[in-house]
Protein backbone atom coordinates (compact mmCIF):
# COMPACT_ATOMS: atom_id res chain seq x y z
CA UNK A 1 0.00 0.00 0.00
CA UNK A 2 2.69 2.41 1.11
CA UNK A 3 5.09 1.40 -1.60
CA UNK A 4 2.38 1.86 -4.21
CA UNK A 5 1.98 5.41 -3.01
CA UNK A 6 5.72 5.98 -3.10
CA UNK A 7 5.91 4.52 -6.58
CA UNK A 8 3.05 6.72 -7.70
CA UNK A 9 4.74 9.84 -6.37
CA UNK A 10 7.99 8.82 -7.99
CA UNK A 11 6.17 8.36 -11.29
CA UNK A 12 4.54 11.75 -11.02
CA UNK A 13 7.91 13.32 -10.26
CA UNK A 14 9.55 11.85 -13.35
CA UNK A 15 6.58 12.49 -15.64
CA UNK A 16 5.46 15.79 -14.11
CA UNK A 17 5.38 17.41 -17.54
CA UNK A 18 2.61 15.04 -18.68
CA UNK A 19 0.50 16.08 -15.70
CA UNK A 20 1.24 19.71 -16.43
CA UNK A 21 -0.09 19.14 -19.97
CA UNK A 22 -3.21 17.58 -18.46
CA UNK A 23 -3.82 20.42 -16.04
CA UNK A 24 -5.54 23.07 -18.22
CA UNK A 25 -7.94 20.48 -19.61
CA UNK A 26 -8.70 19.13 -16.16
CA UNK A 27 -9.36 22.61 -14.82
CA UNK A 28 -11.70 23.17 -17.77
CA UNK A 29 -13.72 20.00 -17.15
CA UNK A 30 -13.94 20.54 -13.40
CA UNK A 31 -14.85 24.22 -13.65
CA UNK A 32 -17.22 24.24 -16.62
CA UNK A 33 -18.71 20.73 -16.39
CA UNK A 34 -18.51 19.49 -12.82
CA UNK A 35 -19.18 22.75 -10.99
CA UNK A 36 -22.53 23.13 -12.84
CA UNK A 37 -23.31 19.50 -11.94
CA UNK A 38 -22.80 20.45 -8.30
CA UNK A 39 -24.87 23.54 -9.00
CA UNK A 40 -27.98 21.44 -9.63
CA UNK A 41 -28.54 21.39 -5.87
CA UNK A 42 -30.35 24.68 -6.36
CA UNK A 43 -33.14 22.54 -7.81
CA UNK A 44 -33.77 21.49 -4.20
CA UNK A 45 -33.53 25.03 -2.85
CA UNK A 46 -35.39 28.28 -3.11
CA UNK A 47 -32.36 29.83 -4.70
CA UNK A 48 -31.86 33.51 -4.24
CA UNK A 49 -28.99 35.22 -6.07
CA UNK A 50 -28.36 37.32 -2.96
CA UNK A 51 -28.01 34.39 -0.59
CA UNK A 52 -26.13 32.18 -3.06
CA UNK A 53 -25.69 28.44 -3.16
CA UNK A 54 -24.72 28.11 0.49
CA UNK A 55 -27.24 30.53 1.97
CA UNK A 56 -30.41 29.55 0.14
CA UNK A 57 -33.01 27.48 1.92
CA UNK A 58 -33.50 23.79 1.07
CA UNK A 59 -37.07 22.91 0.11
CA UNK A 60 -36.80 19.27 -0.91
CA UNK A 61 -38.76 18.19 -3.97
CA UNK A 62 -41.09 21.17 -4.03
CA UNK A 63 -40.08 22.30 -7.52
CA UNK A 64 -40.32 18.81 -8.93
CA UNK A 65 -43.80 18.38 -7.52
CA UNK A 66 -44.74 21.72 -8.97
CA UNK A 67 -43.72 20.94 -12.50
CA UNK A 68 -45.23 17.48 -12.48
CA UNK A 69 -48.60 19.04 -11.74
CA UNK A 70 -48.10 21.93 -14.14
CA UNK A 71 -50.09 21.90 -17.41
CA UNK A 72 -47.50 23.91 -19.26
CA UNK A 73 -44.76 21.48 -18.32
CA UNK A 74 -46.92 18.61 -19.49
CA UNK A 75 -47.32 20.27 -22.90
CA UNK A 76 -43.59 20.90 -23.17
CA UNK A 77 -42.74 17.37 -22.09
CA UNK A 78 -45.19 15.88 -24.61
CA UNK A 79 -43.79 18.08 -27.40
CA UNK A 80 -40.22 17.11 -26.60
CA UNK A 81 -41.04 13.44 -26.49
CA UNK A 82 -43.16 13.49 -29.65
CA UNK A 83 -40.66 15.47 -31.73
CA UNK A 84 -37.86 13.24 -30.46
CA UNK A 85 -39.68 10.05 -31.30
CA UNK A 86 -40.54 11.36 -34.78
CA UNK A 87 -36.92 12.34 -35.31
CA UNK A 88 -35.79 8.93 -34.13
CA UNK A 89 -38.31 7.12 -36.32
CA UNK A 90 -37.74 9.12 -39.51
CA UNK A 91 -34.39 10.75 -38.91
CA UNK A 92 -32.40 7.81 -37.64
CA UNK A 93 -32.83 5.49 -40.65
CA UNK A 94 -32.41 8.35 -43.16
CA UNK A 95 -28.58 8.48 -43.15
CA UNK A 96 -28.38 4.69 -43.26
CA UNK A 97 -30.61 4.67 -46.33
CA UNK A 98 -28.58 7.47 -47.91
CA UNK A 99 -25.33 5.62 -47.28
CA UNK A 100 -26.72 2.41 -48.77
CA UNK A 101 -27.94 4.32 -51.81
CA UNK A 102 -24.71 6.27 -52.28
CA UNK A 103 -22.77 3.05 -51.96
CA UNK A 104 -24.51 1.67 -55.05
CA UNK A 105 -23.53 4.64 -57.21
CA UNK A 106 -20.86 3.70 -59.75
CA UNK A 107 -20.67 7.01 -61.63
CA UNK A 108 -17.95 8.95 -59.85
CA UNK A 109 -18.84 12.53 -60.71
CA UNK A 110 -22.44 11.88 -59.69
CA UNK A 111 -21.36 10.48 -56.36
CA UNK A 112 -19.03 13.39 -55.65
CA UNK A 113 -21.61 16.01 -56.59
CA UNK A 114 -24.33 14.30 -54.57
CA UNK A 115 -22.11 14.04 -51.51
CA UNK A 116 -21.09 17.70 -51.72
CA UNK A 117 -24.75 18.74 -51.85
CA UNK A 118 -25.67 16.42 -48.98
CA UNK A 119 -22.86 17.56 -46.67
CA UNK A 120 -23.08 21.30 -47.19
CA UNK A 121 -26.20 22.04 -45.09
CA UNK A 122 -24.47 20.60 -42.03
CA UNK A 123 -22.02 23.51 -42.23
CA UNK A 124 -24.74 26.14 -42.18
CA UNK A 125 -25.96 27.37 -38.83
CA UNK A 126 -29.57 26.85 -37.85
CA UNK A 127 -30.01 30.60 -38.17
CA UNK A 128 -29.05 30.44 -41.81
CA UNK A 129 -30.73 27.15 -42.62
CA UNK A 130 -33.78 28.18 -40.61
CA UNK A 131 -33.75 31.52 -42.41
CA UNK A 132 -33.80 29.70 -45.72
CA UNK A 133 -36.61 27.42 -44.50
CA UNK A 134 -38.69 30.38 -43.28
CA UNK A 135 -38.09 32.16 -46.57
CA UNK A 136 -38.99 29.18 -48.76
CA UNK A 137 -42.10 28.29 -46.73
CA UNK A 138 -43.37 31.84 -46.25
CA UNK A 139 -46.66 33.01 -47.74
CA UNK A 140 -44.83 34.29 -50.80
CA UNK A 141 -42.06 31.70 -50.77
CA UNK A 142 -40.94 29.14 -53.28
CA UNK A 143 -43.21 26.33 -52.08
CA UNK A 144 -46.32 28.49 -52.09
CA UNK A 145 -45.45 29.82 -55.54
CA UNK A 146 -45.45 26.25 -56.77
CA UNK A 147 -48.72 25.49 -54.95
CA UNK A 148 -50.38 28.57 -56.45
CA UNK A 149 -49.01 27.73 -59.90
CA UNK A 150 -50.80 24.39 -59.75
CA UNK A 151 -53.99 26.06 -58.57
CA UNK A 152 -53.83 25.38 -54.83
CA UNK A 153 -54.39 27.87 -52.02
CA UNK A 154 -51.18 29.19 -50.41
CA UNK A 155 -50.47 27.83 -46.90
CA UNK A 156 -48.84 29.73 -44.03
CA UNK A 157 -46.60 26.83 -43.06
CA UNK A 158 -44.67 28.46 -40.22
CA UNK A 159 -47.82 29.68 -38.48
CA UNK A 160 -49.76 26.43 -38.71
CA UNK A 161 -49.73 24.12 -35.70
CA UNK A 162 -50.53 21.08 -37.81
CA UNK A 163 -47.33 21.43 -39.84
CA UNK A 164 -44.81 22.58 -37.28
CA UNK A 165 -43.50 19.23 -36.03
CA UNK A 166 -43.35 17.86 -39.55
CA UNK A 167 -41.29 20.88 -40.57
CA UNK A 168 -38.91 20.34 -37.64
CA UNK A 169 -38.37 16.69 -38.48
CA UNK A 170 -38.11 17.18 -42.24
CA UNK A 171 -35.69 20.12 -42.09
CA UNK A 172 -33.53 18.27 -39.58
CA UNK A 173 -33.32 15.33 -41.98
CA UNK A 174 -32.42 17.54 -44.93
CA UNK A 175 -29.77 19.39 -42.91
CA UNK A 176 -28.06 16.56 -41.06
CA UNK A 177 -28.70 13.17 -42.65
CA UNK A 178 -26.17 13.67 -45.44
CA UNK A 179 -23.46 14.46 -42.95
CA UNK A 180 -24.46 11.57 -40.69
CA UNK A 181 -24.22 9.19 -43.65
CA UNK A 182 -20.41 9.63 -43.76
CA UNK A 183 -19.93 7.41 -40.75
CA UNK A 184 -22.09 4.65 -42.27
CA UNK A 185 -20.29 4.97 -45.61
CA UNK A 186 -17.02 4.44 -43.76
CA UNK A 187 -18.45 1.37 -42.06
CA UNK A 188 -19.78 -0.01 -45.35
CA UNK A 189 -16.39 0.56 -47.00
CA UNK A 190 -14.92 -1.74 -44.37
CA UNK A 191 -17.15 -4.70 -45.26
CA UNK A 192 -15.23 -7.67 -46.66
CA UNK A 193 -15.93 -7.73 -50.42
CA UNK A 194 -15.46 -11.51 -50.70
CA UNK A 195 -18.74 -11.87 -48.82
CA UNK A 196 -20.55 -10.21 -51.71
CA UNK A 197 -18.80 -12.36 -54.29
CA UNK A 198 -19.71 -15.52 -52.44
CA UNK A 199 -23.32 -14.39 -52.11
CA UNK A 200 -23.52 -13.59 -55.81
CA UNK A 201 -22.25 -17.09 -56.61
CA UNK A 202 -25.18 -18.38 -54.63
CA UNK A 203 -27.51 -16.24 -56.70
CA UNK A 204 -28.16 -13.42 -54.25
CA UNK A 205 -29.93 -10.33 -55.57
CA UNK A 206 -29.02 -6.77 -54.61
CA UNK A 207 -31.72 -6.63 -51.93
CA UNK A 208 -30.42 -9.88 -50.44
CA UNK A 209 -26.89 -8.49 -50.35
CA UNK A 210 -28.04 -5.35 -48.54
CA UNK A 211 -30.26 -7.19 -46.11
CA UNK A 212 -28.04 -10.17 -45.33
CA UNK A 213 -24.52 -8.76 -45.70
CA UNK A 214 -24.27 -4.97 -45.58
CA UNK A 215 -26.70 -4.26 -42.76
CA UNK A 216 -25.49 -7.04 -40.43
CA UNK A 217 -21.90 -5.95 -41.08
CA UNK A 218 -22.51 -2.39 -39.94
CA UNK A 219 -24.74 -3.40 -37.05
CA UNK A 220 -22.34 -2.29 -34.32
CA UNK A 221 -22.00 1.18 -35.85
CA UNK A 222 -25.79 1.45 -36.08
CA UNK A 223 -26.18 0.35 -32.47
CA UNK A 224 -23.61 2.83 -31.13
CA UNK A 225 -25.28 5.73 -32.89
CA UNK A 226 -28.69 4.53 -31.78
CA UNK A 227 -27.63 4.45 -28.13
CA UNK A 228 -26.23 7.97 -28.42
CA UNK A 229 -29.41 9.18 -30.08
CA UNK A 230 -31.61 7.59 -27.45
CA UNK A 231 -29.60 9.23 -24.68
CA UNK A 232 -30.40 12.58 -26.21
CA UNK A 233 -34.11 11.89 -26.51
CA UNK A 234 -35.07 14.80 -24.27
CA UNK A 235 -32.38 17.05 -25.68
CA UNK A 236 -33.51 18.25 -29.04
CA UNK A 237 -31.48 20.79 -30.89
CA UNK A 238 -32.43 23.96 -29.09
CA UNK A 239 -30.74 25.94 -31.86
CA UNK A 240 -33.24 24.58 -34.39
CA UNK A 241 -36.45 25.07 -32.42
CA UNK A 242 -35.43 28.44 -30.99
CA UNK A 243 -34.91 29.64 -34.55
CA UNK A 244 -38.07 28.25 -36.11
CA UNK A 245 -40.78 28.55 -33.50
CA UNK A 246 -42.99 31.54 -32.81
CA UNK A 247 -45.80 32.24 -30.31
CA UNK A 248 -48.44 30.87 -32.69
CA UNK A 249 -46.94 27.37 -32.53
CA UNK A 250 -45.71 27.36 -28.90
CA UNK A 251 -48.40 24.83 -28.09
CA UNK A 252 -46.83 22.21 -30.35
CA UNK A 253 -43.26 23.47 -30.65
CA UNK A 254 -42.13 24.53 -27.19
CA UNK A 255 -39.56 22.00 -25.92
CA UNK A 256 -37.85 21.48 -22.57
CA UNK A 257 -34.78 23.51 -23.55
CA UNK A 258 -36.71 26.53 -24.78
CA UNK A 259 -38.98 26.25 -21.73
CA UNK A 260 -36.00 26.17 -19.36
CA UNK A 261 -34.54 29.18 -21.12
CA UNK A 262 -37.79 31.11 -20.91
CA UNK A 263 -38.71 30.24 -17.34
CA UNK A 264 -35.16 30.21 -16.02
CA UNK A 265 -33.36 33.01 -17.75
CA UNK A 266 -36.07 35.43 -18.84
CA UNK A 267 -38.37 34.94 -15.83
CA UNK A 268 -35.44 34.16 -13.51
CA UNK A 269 -37.10 31.25 -11.74
CA UNK A 270 -33.68 29.66 -11.32
CA UNK A 271 -34.56 26.81 -9.00
CA UNK A 272 -37.64 25.71 -10.88
CA UNK A 273 -35.88 25.76 -14.26
CA UNK A 274 -32.91 23.87 -12.82
CA UNK A 275 -35.28 21.18 -11.52
CA UNK A 276 -36.73 20.81 -15.02
CA UNK A 277 -33.22 20.64 -16.49
CA UNK A 278 -32.13 18.06 -13.91
CA UNK A 279 -35.14 15.92 -14.76
CA UNK A 280 -34.16 16.11 -18.43
CA UNK A 281 -30.51 15.17 -17.84
CA UNK A 282 -31.45 12.33 -15.50
CA UNK A 283 -33.91 10.78 -17.94
CA UNK A 284 -31.21 11.05 -20.62
CA UNK A 285 -28.64 9.32 -18.42
CA UNK A 286 -31.04 6.51 -17.48
CA UNK A 287 -32.02 5.97 -21.11
CA UNK A 288 -28.42 5.81 -22.25
CA UNK A 289 -27.54 3.30 -19.50
CA UNK A 290 -30.51 1.06 -20.33
CA UNK A 291 -30.05 1.20 -24.08
CA UNK A 292 -26.34 0.60 -23.83
CA UNK A 293 -27.03 -2.50 -21.79
CA UNK A 294 -29.49 -3.70 -24.38
CA UNK A 295 -27.13 -2.89 -27.24
CA UNK A 296 -24.31 -4.89 -25.68
CA UNK A 297 -26.38 -8.01 -25.96
CA UNK A 298 -26.42 -7.50 -29.72
CA UNK A 299 -22.70 -6.93 -29.98
CA UNK A 300 -22.71 -3.13 -29.88
CA UNK A 301 -22.86 -0.47 -27.27
CA UNK A 302 -20.60 2.32 -26.15
CA UNK A 303 -18.69 0.54 -23.40
Amino acid sequence: MRSALVNGLKYIRTEWLLYLFLLPGLIYFVLFKYVPMYGVIIAFQDYSPFLGLTGSEFVGFKHFERFFTDDEFFTVFRNTLLISVYKLFWGFPAPIALALMLNEVRVNWFKRTAQTLFYIPHFFSWVIFGGIVINVLSGTGLVNNILVYFGFEPILFMGEKAYFRTILVATDIVKESGWASIIYLAAIAGVDSTLYEAARMDGAKKRHEIWHITLPSIRSTILILFVLQLGNILELGVQQVFMLYNPVVYEVGDIIDTYVYRVGLTEQKYSFATAVGLFQSTVGLILILISNRAARRYGGGLW
Partner: protein, 290 residues
Protein backbone atom coordinates in the same frame (compact mmCIF):
# COMPACT_ATOMS: atom_id res chain seq x y z
CA UNK B 1 -20.47 -10.88 -68.23
CA UNK B 2 -23.28 -8.46 -67.77
CA UNK B 3 -25.84 -10.15 -65.65
CA UNK B 4 -27.89 -7.12 -64.65
CA UNK B 5 -31.53 -8.00 -65.01
CA UNK B 6 -34.24 -5.55 -65.98
CA UNK B 7 -35.23 -5.36 -62.33
CA UNK B 8 -31.75 -4.41 -61.21
CA UNK B 9 -31.42 -1.75 -63.89
CA UNK B 10 -34.73 -0.28 -62.80
CA UNK B 11 -33.64 -0.32 -59.18
CA UNK B 12 -30.39 1.37 -60.05
CA UNK B 13 -32.17 4.04 -62.09
CA UNK B 14 -34.55 4.72 -59.21
CA UNK B 15 -31.57 4.99 -56.89
CA UNK B 16 -29.98 7.72 -59.04
CA UNK B 17 -33.29 9.50 -59.34
CA UNK B 18 -33.93 9.59 -55.59
CA UNK B 19 -30.40 10.74 -54.83
CA UNK B 20 -30.67 13.50 -57.43
CA UNK B 21 -34.01 14.57 -55.95
CA UNK B 22 -32.51 14.79 -52.46
CA UNK B 23 -29.58 16.79 -53.80
CA UNK B 24 -31.91 19.26 -55.51
CA UNK B 25 -33.88 19.56 -52.28
CA UNK B 26 -30.85 21.14 -50.63
CA UNK B 27 -29.81 23.12 -53.70
CA UNK B 28 -33.10 24.75 -54.73
CA UNK B 29 -33.92 26.66 -51.54
CA UNK B 30 -30.38 27.97 -51.51
CA UNK B 31 -30.64 29.19 -55.11
CA UNK B 32 -34.02 30.75 -54.32
CA UNK B 33 -32.57 32.84 -51.49
CA UNK B 34 -29.55 33.78 -53.63
CA UNK B 35 -31.88 34.86 -56.44
CA UNK B 36 -33.98 36.95 -54.06
CA UNK B 37 -30.93 38.71 -52.73
CA UNK B 38 -30.09 39.89 -56.25
CA UNK B 39 -33.55 40.85 -57.48
CA UNK B 40 -35.37 44.18 -57.57
CA UNK B 41 -37.96 45.26 -55.06
CA UNK B 42 -40.86 44.92 -57.49
CA UNK B 43 -39.81 41.48 -58.67
CA UNK B 44 -39.60 40.15 -55.11
CA UNK B 45 -42.82 41.75 -53.94
CA UNK B 46 -44.76 40.54 -56.99
CA UNK B 47 -43.44 37.03 -56.41
CA UNK B 48 -41.70 36.58 -59.73
CA UNK B 49 -38.40 35.33 -58.33
CA UNK B 50 -37.85 31.61 -58.24
CA UNK B 51 -34.31 30.33 -58.63
CA UNK B 52 -32.67 32.98 -60.79
CA UNK B 53 -32.54 36.75 -60.18
CA UNK B 54 -35.08 39.04 -61.89
CA UNK B 55 -34.06 42.66 -62.68
CA UNK B 56 -30.58 41.98 -61.39
CA UNK B 57 -29.37 44.46 -58.77
CA UNK B 58 -26.93 44.49 -55.88
CA UNK B 59 -28.49 47.26 -53.79
CA UNK B 60 -29.13 44.98 -50.81
CA UNK B 61 -25.46 44.04 -50.57
CA UNK B 62 -24.41 47.69 -50.87
CA UNK B 63 -26.74 48.62 -48.00
CA UNK B 64 -25.50 45.70 -45.94
CA UNK B 65 -21.84 46.54 -46.43
CA UNK B 66 -22.51 50.07 -45.24
CA UNK B 67 -24.08 48.92 -41.98
CA UNK B 68 -21.78 49.28 -38.97
CA UNK B 69 -23.74 46.73 -36.95
CA UNK B 70 -23.18 44.10 -39.63
CA UNK B 71 -19.43 44.72 -39.63
CA UNK B 72 -19.26 44.60 -35.87
CA UNK B 73 -21.19 41.33 -35.72
CA UNK B 74 -19.04 39.87 -38.48
CA UNK B 75 -15.95 40.96 -36.58
CA UNK B 76 -17.14 39.38 -33.32
CA UNK B 77 -17.82 36.11 -35.13
CA UNK B 78 -14.48 36.15 -36.94
CA UNK B 79 -12.58 36.89 -33.73
CA UNK B 80 -14.53 34.27 -31.83
CA UNK B 81 -13.81 31.69 -34.51
CA UNK B 82 -10.07 32.40 -34.72
CA UNK B 83 -9.31 32.80 -31.01
CA UNK B 84 -11.81 30.17 -29.90
CA UNK B 85 -10.49 27.56 -32.31
CA UNK B 86 -6.89 28.30 -31.34
CA UNK B 87 -7.78 27.79 -27.68
CA UNK B 88 -9.73 24.61 -28.50
CA UNK B 89 -6.89 23.07 -30.43
CA UNK B 90 -4.19 24.02 -27.91
CA UNK B 91 -6.11 22.55 -24.97
CA UNK B 92 -7.31 19.48 -26.87
CA UNK B 93 -3.80 18.58 -28.09
CA UNK B 94 -2.27 19.18 -24.67
CA UNK B 95 -4.81 16.94 -22.98
CA UNK B 96 -4.95 14.23 -25.64
CA UNK B 97 -1.19 13.68 -25.55
CA UNK B 98 -0.83 12.46 -21.94
CA UNK B 99 -4.10 10.53 -22.22
CA UNK B 100 -2.82 8.67 -25.27
CA UNK B 101 -0.02 7.11 -23.17
CA UNK B 102 -1.14 3.80 -21.79
CA UNK B 103 1.40 4.01 -18.99
CA UNK B 104 0.04 7.25 -17.57
CA UNK B 105 -1.14 6.75 -14.02
CA UNK B 106 -4.65 8.04 -13.40
CA UNK B 107 -5.48 7.82 -17.09
CA UNK B 108 -8.57 5.69 -16.54
CA UNK B 109 -9.91 8.08 -13.92
CA UNK B 110 -9.48 11.15 -16.13
CA UNK B 111 -11.01 9.37 -19.13
CA UNK B 112 -13.97 8.32 -17.01
CA UNK B 113 -14.40 11.91 -15.88
CA UNK B 114 -14.36 13.16 -19.46
CA UNK B 115 -16.78 10.52 -20.75
CA UNK B 116 -19.23 11.17 -17.93
CA UNK B 117 -19.60 14.79 -19.07
CA UNK B 118 -20.95 13.40 -22.35
CA UNK B 119 -23.69 11.50 -20.52
CA UNK B 120 -24.79 13.99 -17.88
CA UNK B 121 -24.69 17.74 -17.48
CA UNK B 122 -25.68 20.34 -14.96
CA UNK B 123 -27.84 22.05 -17.52
CA UNK B 124 -28.49 25.56 -18.68
CA UNK B 125 -29.22 27.41 -15.47
CA UNK B 126 -26.30 26.20 -13.30
CA UNK B 127 -23.96 26.95 -16.22
CA UNK B 128 -25.44 30.42 -16.53
CA UNK B 129 -25.08 31.06 -12.79
CA UNK B 130 -21.47 29.85 -12.93
CA UNK B 131 -20.62 32.36 -15.65
CA UNK B 132 -22.43 35.01 -13.64
CA UNK B 133 -20.36 34.17 -10.55
CA UNK B 134 -17.17 34.26 -12.61
CA UNK B 135 -18.22 37.70 -13.92
CA UNK B 136 -17.99 36.42 -17.47
CA UNK B 137 -21.48 37.43 -18.59
CA UNK B 138 -21.37 40.04 -21.35
CA UNK B 139 -17.72 39.41 -22.02
CA UNK B 140 -16.03 37.91 -25.05
CA UNK B 141 -14.79 35.04 -22.87
CA UNK B 142 -18.36 33.81 -22.37
CA UNK B 143 -18.28 32.82 -26.04
CA UNK B 144 -15.07 30.80 -25.96
CA UNK B 145 -14.38 29.49 -22.45
CA UNK B 146 -17.49 27.33 -21.80
CA UNK B 147 -16.77 25.31 -24.96
CA UNK B 148 -12.98 25.21 -24.66
CA UNK B 149 -12.78 21.42 -25.12
CA UNK B 150 -15.25 19.06 -26.72
CA UNK B 151 -15.09 15.65 -25.02
CA UNK B 152 -15.96 13.97 -28.31
CA UNK B 153 -13.11 15.66 -30.21
CA UNK B 154 -10.70 14.96 -27.37
CA UNK B 155 -11.43 11.23 -27.54
CA UNK B 156 -11.07 11.28 -31.33
CA UNK B 157 -7.62 12.88 -31.11
CA UNK B 158 -6.55 10.64 -28.23
CA UNK B 159 -7.42 7.58 -30.34
CA UNK B 160 -5.47 9.04 -33.22
CA UNK B 161 -2.41 9.68 -31.08
CA UNK B 162 -2.60 6.12 -29.75
CA UNK B 163 -2.21 4.76 -33.26
CA UNK B 164 1.21 6.42 -33.62
CA UNK B 165 3.85 3.70 -33.16
CA UNK B 166 5.54 4.04 -29.76
CA UNK B 167 8.92 3.18 -31.27
CA UNK B 168 8.87 6.65 -32.83
CA UNK B 169 8.83 8.56 -29.61
CA UNK B 170 11.16 6.11 -27.91
CA UNK B 171 13.82 6.86 -30.48
CA UNK B 172 13.08 10.58 -30.12
CA UNK B 173 13.62 10.24 -26.39
CA UNK B 174 16.98 8.58 -27.04
CA UNK B 175 17.93 11.67 -28.98
CA UNK B 176 17.04 13.73 -25.94
CA UNK B 177 13.61 15.01 -26.96
CA UNK B 178 11.21 15.96 -24.17
CA UNK B 179 7.44 15.64 -24.21
CA UNK B 180 7.03 19.14 -25.64
CA UNK B 181 9.20 18.28 -28.62
CA UNK B 182 7.59 14.88 -29.14
CA UNK B 183 4.12 16.45 -29.15
CA UNK B 184 4.88 19.35 -31.47
CA UNK B 185 7.45 17.69 -33.76
CA UNK B 186 6.14 14.15 -34.02
CA UNK B 187 2.55 13.69 -32.86
CA UNK B 188 0.98 16.80 -34.34
CA UNK B 189 2.66 16.57 -37.77
CA UNK B 190 1.77 12.87 -37.98
CA UNK B 191 -1.86 13.56 -37.12
CA UNK B 192 -2.50 16.33 -39.62
CA UNK B 193 -5.72 14.84 -41.08
CA UNK B 194 -7.16 14.52 -37.58
CA UNK B 195 -5.89 17.96 -36.52
CA UNK B 196 -7.34 19.55 -39.66
CA UNK B 197 -10.68 17.82 -39.11
CA UNK B 198 -10.94 18.91 -35.49
CA UNK B 199 -9.94 22.45 -36.40
CA UNK B 200 -12.76 22.44 -38.91
CA UNK B 201 -15.26 21.05 -36.38
CA UNK B 202 -14.33 23.65 -33.79
CA UNK B 203 -14.29 26.50 -36.29
CA UNK B 204 -17.71 25.57 -37.68
CA UNK B 205 -19.07 25.28 -34.15
CA UNK B 206 -17.84 28.77 -33.27
CA UNK B 207 -18.99 30.37 -36.50
CA UNK B 208 -22.46 28.82 -36.29
CA UNK B 209 -23.52 28.79 -32.66
CA UNK B 210 -25.78 31.52 -31.41
CA UNK B 211 -27.68 30.14 -28.44
CA UNK B 212 -24.78 30.69 -26.04
CA UNK B 213 -24.65 34.32 -27.16
CA UNK B 214 -28.42 34.59 -26.62
CA UNK B 215 -27.93 33.32 -23.06
CA UNK B 216 -24.70 35.01 -22.04
CA UNK B 217 -24.59 38.27 -24.02
CA UNK B 218 -26.99 41.13 -24.00
CA UNK B 219 -24.77 43.90 -25.22
CA UNK B 220 -25.50 44.68 -28.84
CA UNK B 221 -21.87 45.35 -29.73
CA UNK B 222 -20.81 41.88 -28.58
CA UNK B 223 -23.45 40.02 -30.57
CA UNK B 224 -22.02 37.59 -33.10
CA UNK B 225 -23.19 37.46 -36.70
CA UNK B 226 -25.70 34.65 -36.11
CA UNK B 227 -27.55 36.70 -33.49
CA UNK B 228 -27.55 39.76 -35.77
CA UNK B 229 -28.97 37.55 -38.49
CA UNK B 230 -31.58 35.98 -36.25
CA UNK B 231 -32.81 39.36 -35.06
CA UNK B 232 -33.15 40.38 -38.69
CA UNK B 233 -34.96 37.23 -39.83
CA UNK B 234 -37.19 36.49 -36.86
CA UNK B 235 -37.82 39.92 -35.39
CA UNK B 236 -37.38 42.00 -38.52
CA UNK B 237 -34.98 44.20 -36.60
CA UNK B 238 -32.61 46.25 -38.65
CA UNK B 239 -31.10 49.70 -38.55
CA UNK B 240 -30.64 49.66 -42.26
CA UNK B 241 -32.66 52.28 -44.11
CA UNK B 242 -34.34 50.54 -47.00
CA UNK B 243 -35.13 53.65 -49.04
CA UNK B 244 -32.86 55.73 -51.21
CA UNK B 245 -32.55 59.51 -50.91
CA UNK B 246 -35.69 60.09 -52.95
CA UNK B 247 -37.73 58.11 -50.43
CA UNK B 248 -38.37 55.29 -52.88
CA UNK B 249 -38.16 51.72 -51.68
CA UNK B 250 -35.35 50.13 -53.63
CA UNK B 251 -34.86 47.03 -51.55
CA UNK B 252 -37.55 44.75 -50.14
CA UNK B 253 -37.01 43.56 -46.54
CA UNK B 254 -37.00 40.02 -47.92
CA UNK B 255 -34.14 40.93 -50.23
CA UNK B 256 -32.14 42.38 -47.37
CA UNK B 257 -32.65 39.20 -45.30
CA UNK B 258 -31.63 37.09 -48.26
CA UNK B 259 -28.51 39.18 -48.83
CA UNK B 260 -27.55 38.90 -45.14
CA UNK B 261 -27.99 35.13 -45.24
CA UNK B 262 -25.74 34.95 -48.29
CA UNK B 263 -23.09 37.19 -46.73
CA UNK B 264 -23.00 34.93 -43.69
CA UNK B 265 -22.61 31.67 -45.57
CA UNK B 266 -20.03 33.06 -47.96
CA UNK B 267 -16.99 32.28 -45.79
CA UNK B 268 -18.24 28.72 -45.46
CA UNK B 269 -18.89 28.31 -49.19
CA UNK B 270 -15.44 29.66 -50.07
CA UNK B 271 -13.63 27.40 -47.61
CA UNK B 272 -15.74 24.32 -48.24
CA UNK B 273 -14.03 22.93 -51.37
CA UNK B 274 -10.63 23.15 -49.70
CA UNK B 275 -11.80 21.44 -46.57
CA UNK B 276 -13.94 18.69 -48.01
CA UNK B 277 -11.16 16.29 -48.84
CA UNK B 278 -9.75 16.73 -45.35
CA UNK B 279 -12.84 16.13 -43.30
CA UNK B 280 -14.12 13.13 -45.20
CA UNK B 281 -10.79 11.45 -44.59
CA UNK B 282 -10.61 12.63 -40.98
CA UNK B 283 -14.13 11.57 -40.09
CA UNK B 284 -13.62 8.18 -41.66
CA UNK B 285 -10.39 7.61 -39.76
CA UNK B 286 -12.17 8.50 -36.56
CA UNK B 287 -15.12 6.30 -37.40
CA UNK B 288 -13.26 3.17 -38.39
CA UNK B 289 -11.20 3.27 -35.24
CA UNK B 290 -14.25 3.01 -32.93
Amino acid sequence: MSRASVGEKLGSGLNYLLLAAFGLLTLFPFLHVLAQSLSSHTAVVSNRVSIYPIDFQTEAYKLLFQDDAFYRAFGVSAMRTVLGTALNMALTCLMAYPLSRRTLKGRGFVMGMVVFTMLFSGGMIPSFLLLKELKLLNTFFALILPSAISAFNLILLKNFFESIPSSLDESAKMDGAGHGTILTRIYIPLSLPAIATLTLFYAVMHWNSYFDAVMYINKAELNPLQVYLRNLIVQNESNIELTNNMGLFLVAPETLKAATIMASVLPMIILYPFLQKFFVKGVMLGAVKE
